[in-house]
């Protein structure tokens, strides 16, 4: 049986990596990818608790997280597409105005 503590530790490390990537990367697409890494790490801890407690609800909530991640990818990339029409490149430091 996989120890739940090890799964939670892995989840914390993955979340920290995603957090660093979100805060530090300059490319907006890579920032969105970092958000996906964070959501995946949350899924790992949900699945670990579901296994630990023999309760299916953790996995159901993980499914919801995956669905929301799909929506987030669609909305985020739509925003990036609209942004890249107005500015060359997808560097987050170039985006200093809310509208053009």
């Amino acid at each position: 049986m996989v120890p739940v503590g090890a799964c939670l530790g892995l989840s914390a490390v993955l979340f920290a990596i995603g957090l660093f990537g979100f805060l530090a990367r300059r490319n907006i697409i890579l920032m969105l990818v970092s958000v996906e890494i964070m959501l995946t790490s949350v899924n790992v801890s949900l699945a670990a608790f579901s296994h630990h407690l023999s309760d299916v609800r953790g996995q159901v909530i993980a499914l919801f997280v995956i669905a929301v991640a799909a929506g987030e990818a669609a909305i985020g990339l739509g925003l990036v597409l609209a942004l890249s029409r107005n500015k060359q490149g997808v560097n987050v430091e170039d985006v200093t105005h809310l509208r053009w």
Partner: protein, 170 residues
């Protein structure tokens, strides 16, 4: 689950962390996305190890299959100017390192407290995770959130189309 299972788990965990680190440090966005693909596949393996077979399948099909391919398509569609010469990280990246390390200290609490805090299920309890129990939970206990998620996806589709449509007039 024996020693072999633990060895497989620690391999999957180490490979996940390595691919995540590689994913956020590569210069080219395509390389980053391919490393994220490796991360998602390893996480699917972890889901298999903890008995979440359906979640592993969804992880491979939806995350690695749909969302990541969506990102890759988008990256090719956008035709980015050369990123290789520009710096990868913004000027304040040490602050981000501190934030990440501060979060990673949660691993200290993850060591053995949850097992004491949350007692594991009884040995005779039915195993969660097969498709029938998940479907039953989705359509009975989680029926309302399930419908709300469908609305979230619908609004995401409409929102993406609205934002990505080119405006013809100023």
């Amino acid at each position: 689950m024996s020693t072999a299972g633990l060895v497989v788990f620690y391999y999957l965990a180490a490979a996940s962390i390595a691919s995540a680190i590689l994913a956020i440090t590569r210069h080219k966005p395509i390389h980053s996305l391919l490393w994220v693909l490796a991360l998602f596949l390893h996480v699917a393996g972890i889901f298999l190890l903890v008995g979440a077979e359906f979640l592993a399948a969804v992880q491979v099909i939806v995350y690695a299959g749909a969302i990541l391919v969506f990102y890759l398509f988008f990256l090719m569609l956008l035709d980015l100017p050369s990123e290789a010469s520009a710096p990868r990280f913004s000027a304040h990246w040490p602050v981000s390192v501190v934030a990440g390390l501060a979060f990673a200290t949660l691993i200290w609490y993850a060591r053995d407290i949850p097992a004491a805090l949350v007692p594991p299920a009884a040995a005779g309890a039915p195993r969660a995770g097969n498709l029938a129990t998940i479907g039953k939970a989705l359509f009975t206990e989680f029926a309302v959130p399930f419908e709300i998620v469908s609305l979230v996806l619908l609004s995401a589709i409409v929102g993406a189309v609205v934002m990505a449509t080119r405006k013809t007039e100023p």
